[in-house]
Structures are given as structure tokens and as C-alpha cells.
Symmetry: C2
Amino acid sequence: MRKKVTLKQLAKELNLSISTVSKSLKNDPEISQKTINRVHELADFYNYKPNALAVSLKSSRTKTIGVILPEILNHFFAKALYGIEKEASNHGYKILTCITNESYDKEVEYVEMLNYSSVDGFIVALSEETQVLNKFDHYAALKRDKVPMVMFDRVIDEIDCDKVIVDDENASKNAVQYLIDSGCSKIGLITTIGDLSVAKHRIQGAKAAVADKDVELHEFKLKGASRAEEEILAFLKSTDLDAVLGLDETSAAVTINSCHRLGYKIPKDISVIGFTDGLLSKHSFPKLSTVSQHAEDLGERAVQVLINNIENDDEKYVPKTQIVKTSLILRDSTN
Amino acid sequence: MRKKVTLKQLAKELNLSISTVSKSLKNDPEISQKTINRVHELADFYNYKPNALAVSLKSSRTKTIGVILPEILNHFFAKALYGIEKEASNHGYKILTCITNESYDKEVEYVEMLNYSSVDGFIVALSEETQVLNKFDHYAALKRDKVPMVMFDRVIDEIDCDKVIVDDENASKNAVQYLIDSGCSKIGLITTIGDLSVAKHRIQGAKAAVADKDVELHEFKLKGASRAEEEILAFLKSTDLDAVLGLDETSAAVTINSCHRLGYKIPKDISVIGFTDGLLSKHSFPKLSTVSQHAEDLGERAVQVLINNIENDDEKYVPKTQIVKTSLILRDSTN
DNA sequence: CTGTTAGCGCTTTCAC
DNA sequence: GTGAAAGCGCTAACAG
């Protein structure tokens, strides 16, 4: 790897001191215009750029955000990452992306690694295992070090930091309400992500919607993703639903296909709504009605909140929780 | 942001010099066991970790890989990123991820930014615009600086660097051959990505397969993603195909749905194969037969090749091109 | 106007 | 065995 030009070399070639060169590059009014011009000329010639490492070491600012995601082969998080990257870039920040694969150990390892890489702040969505184990010392440590951090989507109450979440409970309530309004009265609730806080909120919302109404709600937690289709097929056969709310996109997609297999017409015989508005929804047949979580928005917001915190580093900053609104996108799988 | 413990502080507290502490932490045999123990004890107590920035500045190694992707809301690249992140992490590397959104300008900007952030090397998939404009001075510059780099999937001949690609031509040829063998003779070739080198290879492969056979091949380039469904519907109606090869996953997925609309039975009336084995294929109805490009593999390989280059920094390294095999995954959309 | 100096946190050579 | 000193590339306070 060839070495890049440094201030030192420019200084030598121009017969100036390093600091004069440094100031000239910043167009410091202290320096004569003539010198400034000479310096810029040579700097341009060599395409000089300050070494980011040195600048960071000096300023303890890396202009880098650590992003910790549980998955990436999931349209929701991919979209969130897209929003994060875009917004970070707009503000001149880079992102170090780590994927925990839903593992607690990986998460801990990554948090430490990024912390010692001196990222300016963290954007985190918790792994499933972390939520199950309910351990979060690694975040308590960040908090103690006063490292700016925002959690999004998958969050915990135990850590007091900025949060950007979706109003899952209400979203779910509205979706079920819509199904009821369109005449459904036997609604299935299918999920692969039962252990996550978000799933719990969604279930609560659904329950709230049916409360004191003459509507049946049938919960169904899938055991394993691998046998999802068989499980759902069996569930569908054993009940006699007129609607299904998939608590994640996969559940909804698989439900649609299972209905095809059973010869149920959608939405005539059965209506389907899925959580998260990803690729599958747009390309299913019929196109799936969904609860859109605006993942991209979520990511962007997280970055905004974080950068705001980083750049104002206020001694007694009070963390806030932002709630991003969802919307019900009606397509062809509902009446 | 609270400051982290430094060697200096440990040294002061232990009444030792900085260098002694540094050596002790590395268990340098020069140092007495007793001192080593004392140092480790205090270091553990404070949970000391060397400041990565300082280490990097000294060693000019950041253990960071710059990753430049054209998109992320595309299962292929998401999967590749997954493979990249996983493999990088296995080798103790972090990744700085940038998404160009298929823009040339963004790509140039990111390459420069990452280069001045002293990444140890680059993993790149070119943006569509870069391929169209055929400009690559930004990579020539990296090459001049001898910065390790590997291009994957979307590559150009003009830059002589490591490459990891898929044998698109053969993959396509095999897929078409399969369709012919199963009795198809009027095959549509649908694509949304006509300008990419990969699409061209796929078209060539298809042509090679039908050469001197009594089989018709109908190419169809979509204008815009937004009206994909209408366009494909019209194309399907105007021809009388018995098979379609989608040159990207979206084309294939939309084709399937269009067939449903037209009342064509899949695979009885028409067979469909799609390129790239993503989510859509698994959740379409019927499940789509695909050409799997092993995106995750591709990403992993790219990292292996890159790290190998980084860690052996050989003056006269000769770049190589690795070809990752594809495979035809037969599901329900073909006979 | 320009230069000297110290220091960010670490590694490494060389003295003692 | 331990420590002083130089240096990675940069910034900034202070001298001149």
C-alpha cells in the first residue's frame, strides 16, 4: 500500500513549517494569501487529504456510527439499514455495520469492539436472544461511559437511552379493527417471532381490538421456520378462519400460499394482512395488505436523534422515545 | 463521552513507565513475571483495551474493510453483505458499508472517503451508472496506491484487480437448456437490468443454448420498474410462450403473478425460472425454480481473497478472477 | 505572518 | 528488568 502525502512532506517541499501548512489548508486569516495559494496548489497537485486516523486521534471524533443489527436477510432491517446509511452519509458520517444473527454473545462482542474502535455513537436493534435472556450489561457500560446510543424497533425498558420505535400495539389494533369492520369474526394471529417484545405488543393490540366484541381470536406460534408451511396448513385446516393477521411478513406470505393450496380464495373466503411492508407483499398473489412500519424512516430518525446527541454532547441530556406512526396499506388480500 | 483508561494512567497508578506497561500487557519475556501480573490485574480491573485509533495510526492497519454496494434492498446484495460481514468478523475485521444507489458520483465520493479513512482494503460491486458511463479513474487511483481491492459480481475488465464472479453465461445457458429439455420451444427472456454486464452475459448464454436448435427466443427489456406488471402482461399476451427465464428475481416474480392474471397454469401452460435465489422465489406460488448464485458464498470468497492480499502485501501480486459456480434449483414452477 | 512545542495513545528501539 | 525517547499525522496554544 503506497503511502499518502502528509503535511510533513508538503511542508518540506514548500520550505514551510508543518503548522503553517496546516493553517494554510484551513485558510487561516493569519497566513498570507500568497502562502495559502502556494500550499493549496501543491496540496491539490498531490491530492492531499488529511489522514482521518490522525484527526480522529486528536479530536476523539471518528465521524463513524456503529450499527448493530440482529439480521439483514430480512427486508425490514435491510430497509432500516438503507435509511441509516443514507442519513448518516448526508451528515458526513460513515457506518460500521455488525450483524448479530440474533445471538447475545455476538452482540456483546460487537458492542465492545465498536466501542474500542471509538465510534461516535451506536444505533442498535436488539437480538432476539438478548431479549430472551434479558441481559444488557454491555449497554449499561456504554451508558456509564456516556456513549451516545439509540435503540430502534427492538428495545428494552431497562436501558435509559434514546429510542425510536413503532407503535406496534396500535398498529395491530387498527389492522384487526379493519378486519372486523370488513365483516370478519374469526381471526387468526400467526407469528414466527413470539419471543420479541414487538410480537407481544402486536398481540396485545389485537386483543384490545376484539375486546367485548363478538369476535374470536386464535393465536398460533410457529415452532420452526423450516416447517412453517406444514404448520400453517394444519392450523388453517383445524380452524375455520375468515381472516389472518401475520405478525411478520413471512407468516403472512406463507399463509397466502397455504390458502392457495387449500383452495381458499383470497380475499373472498379469507382476508390476510401482514406486518411489515416488504418485497414479499408486493410480489405475492394477490398482493398483500400490510401494516407498513416505515423502516426507512425509522432508520433515518434513529440517525437524526443520534447525531443530535453526538454533536451537542450535553452533560445532562435526557433521552427520549420517538414513536413512528405506522400505516395500513390496503392491497388485494383484504376486502 | 467518558474517557477510556490509557496506558499512561495505568503506568501512573502502578509507578511504572508507559513502555513497561505496554510490554507487560504483551507478556514480553523481558519483563518480570511479578510486574506482568500487577499490570494485568489493574488492566483487568479497569477493563483496559488499547485505543484502536492509536494502534492504527502507528501500524497503518485499521482491520477495517470498505464495502461498496450498489443496493441493499435487493436480496442478492443483502445476502452478499451477510456473507461479507460474517467472514470479515471471523477474521477480526470490521466493515464500513456504503450504498451507492447505483450512482456514479456517490461511488466516487465513497471510494475517496473510505480511502482516506484508511481502510485496509475494498470490496466493491459496481453501480449501474458506473458501468454505463464506463468511468473508473477512482479505482485506477486505488490501484496506483496499491490498495488491496476485490470486485464482485459487477466487475469491469479495465481494472486489473481480484475479482469474484458468477459464471452468468453458463448459468443462463444451463437454465435455458433445461427448459428446452423439458419440452419448451418458445422462451421469453425478461429483464429489468439490461444495462449491466451480468445481464448481457445471461443473454449470451441463453442464445448459446438455443443456437442451431428449433427454439424461439424472445427478449424483453422492461422500461421502468414501476410499470413492470403491465408491461409483462402485455408482453405475455402478445407472444405465446411456453417458458420464461427472468434475468432477475423481480422479473420472474412479476411474471408468475401475471400468469395468474392471464389464467395460465404454471408449470402446465408455462414454465418459469428466475435468476437469483432470494426470498421471493421461496414464497411465490408456485415456488419458483431459480438459478442460485450463492451470493453468500460470493461475499465470503471476496473477503477471503481480500484478506489474503492484505495480509501478505506482496509487491508483485498478480490479481486473479475466481468464478463461483451457480446451481439450478428446481422447485414447482418448472416441469 | 510563520514557527516551535506539546500532546492525542500507542509501539519500539535503545540506554541504563 | 525498566525506562526514556522518538515517531505515526495532525491540531492548537503560544512565541517570535
